[in-house]
């Protein structure tokens, strides 16, 4: 791999041993994937995946401290994934004890480390950093050193930025050095689609279900999705961006997708059309029956599968402002139709702190509160990341949350039915 004189000097120790290790990490990373060079990171901000002060991550905190002590801090300010704790989210005494005294006992000290390393601001804790209210929205063509899988796939696909599916820690290495290896999704060739996904459903497919089906089929490959124009049109409006946010998160978590193209909608698909499809691309057809099959085959991990739901999470990844408003209306209408005043299952909507602040300035905040729904900035995945949740029947419309926890997936319509009408769970 070609290195500039300056990069070679850093590798040789011109900026100290720690910076040499940072550069060595990036060089080894690039060489593993046949990178030809290191290219500058050009985005204004970085985004890190590691927001949680989990005790098991002590080796990571030690590494972060090594970087801080050596002055090897990020050259960019950064946002970071959501906080794992929020006292407003229902938890019993035992859960609170485990969260605060055991699992996330190092949260406060870790957040101090993040500040020293270059955290944007105290509200910069969200997986959806690209939402307007948060302010970390890369431009088309920007080179990123991000890691959060749902943010990477969104930045690549919807914003047209360029970022590999980096791992946590590797994200901050690129930001500290100011460069990342040039391979994979940073290259034109790596952004070609090796799958054509033909959507032939009779109604608009559920974003998180469609994404799950595609992720499990194509795994790490790039899909070119056709047949969505009649459902989404050709403009990246707020509704479509929210849809693609949820769709992409499912492709990335149920598989390992870092980039997708939607015909006549996403930027590169609009510019290049079928020219984005690599020769010999495989074909996957998705119809109603295929989506039903995918949902039917999800394992049910509840200890008591016949039990009633105890908690509902909506917002993994974090909800947009428009989603919060739309869901407020849907819950109100569902309650009105069923004659109920409050949701029948404790329900938490999650969003970015900056979105939450803006939402709370609108009339929708009071209306949502009146339905009994709790609004939080928490990471539901981190909330559920403990053995106590195995005996807790949690429902969600998030296929990412389903994948990593014992929560049970339902479509948005099913969820609405359950929380407002106590509808059929199975």
């Amino acid at each position: 791999m070609y290195l500039t004189d300056e990069q070679q000097a850093v590798l040789n120790g011109s900026k100290g041993e720690t910076m040499a290790k940072v550069m060595k990490t990036l060089v080894m990373y690039g060489e593993t994937f046949g990178a030809d060079k290191l290219v500058p990171v050009t985005s204004e901000y970085n985004h890190l995946v590691t927001s949680f002060g989990l005790k098991m991550m002590k080796p990571v905190f030690d590494l972060m401290q090594q970087l801080i002590d050596a002055g090897a801090v990020s050259q960019q300010k950064f946002s970071v994934d959501p906080r794992p704790l929020d006292k407003n989210v229902p938890a019993n005494l035992l859960q609170k004890l485990i969260f605060n005294k055991f699992m996330y006992a190092t949260q406060e000290s870790y957040e101090k480390q993040l500040q020293e390393l270059g955290l944007m601001n105290e509200d910069a804790f969200t997986c959806a950093c690209y939402l307007d209210q948060v302010g970390n929205k890369p431009k088309k063509g920007d080179i990123l050193s991000w890691a959060e899988s749902s943010a990477v796939v969104y930045a690549n696909s919807v914003l047209g930025a360029r970022c590999n599916r980096n791992s946590g820690i590797m994200d901050i290495m690129g930001s500290i050095a100011g460069c990342v290896p040039h391979f994979g999704l940073l290259t034109d060739e790596g952004r070609k689609a090796t799958w054509i996904v033909k959507v032939e459903t009779t109604k608009k497919p559920e974003a998180q279900l469609l994404g799950s089906a595609i992720g499990m089929k194509v795994m790490e490959d790039v899909p070119f999705v056709t047949g969505m124009e009649k459902w989404l049109g050709t403009e990246l409006n707020d509704e479509n961006c929210a849809y693609l946010k949820d769709f992409g998160a499912a492709t990335a978590s149920n598989g390992a997708v870092g980039l997708y193209h939607i015909e006549n909608l996403t930027p590169e698909a609009k510019e290049q059309g079928a020219g984005l499809i690599a020769p010999g691309a495989k074909v996957y057809i998705i119809d109603d029956a295929e989506l039903e099959r995918v949902q039917r085959e999800y394992p049910v991990m509840w200890k008591n599968p016949e039990g009633a739901p105890k908690l509902c999470f909506i917002g993994c990844p974090h909800m947009s402002m428009q989603q919060l408003k739309d869901w407020t209306v849907r819950v109100e209408e569902g309650l009105k139709a069923s004659g109920n005043k409050k949701v029948l299952v404790p329900t938490v909507f999650t969003t970015a702190p900056a979105v939450k602040k803006e939402f709370e300035k609108t009339e929708f905040a009071r209306r949502l509160k009146d339905t009994g729904v709790i609004l939080s900035y928490i990471c539901p995945l981190m909330y559920m990341n403990n053995p106590l949740c195995k005996t807790m029947n949690v429902i969600t419309s998030s296929n990412k949350l389903r994948t990593y926890t014992t929560s049970r997936y339902y479509t948005e319509a099913q969820i609405l039915d359950i929380i407002t009408k106590g509808g059929e769970q199975k």
Partner: protein
């Protein structure tokens, strides 16, 4: 006995008992519970992986096509290495993915005395042949011998 030739991602030699995942290995879902709650055997907690769910991973020859899922995967693997709960080696039938590569590289650059040979591109025949419980040896030149 069969020999398979792959590419060396992290060098080293080791002999260990195989555990085999035919689907993508979700590093976060597989290891987070074990690392968080003191399971020194690193029992696989991924409910979506019927090949590995409930099986011991620490000290085993982990045979897999690739890793998938959350991009915390690399740091989870890094933490497993730092805590001494990593597989004895990781043997990929496909070219390695960016998350597993990151975990392996971070461990080799930033941790002292960690040895976890990683070989990739062993081919589909490797994953078809190797079964749970078989003895797997990694040689210095990247050859993997399955007994």
């Amino acid at each position: 006995m069969m020999e398979f030739k792959g590419r060396i991602v992290a060098p080293g030699t080791v002999t260990a008992e195989a555990v085999v995942s035919h689907g993508g290995f979700n590093t976060l879902a597989s290891l987070q519970g074990a690392l968080q709650f003191g399971d020194k055997k690193a029992t696989c907690g991924d409910q979506n992986n019927p090949d590995l769910h409930g099986k011991v991973l620490a000290g085993k020859a982990l045979c897999l096509p690739m890793t998938i899922g959350s991009t915390t995967g690399g740091l989870v693997l890094y933490c497993a290495c730092a805590m001494g709960r990593q597989p004895a080696c990781m043997l990929f039938s496909n070219p390695i993915d960016s998350l597993a590569a990151a975990g392996s590289i971070l461990a080799s650059v930033w941790l002292e005395g960690i040895q976890m040979p990683v070989i990739d591109s062993l081919g589909e025949d490797f994953l078809s042949y190797v079964k749970d419980g078989m003895t797997v040896s990694v040689r210095e030149d990247g050859t993997v011998v399955v007994d």
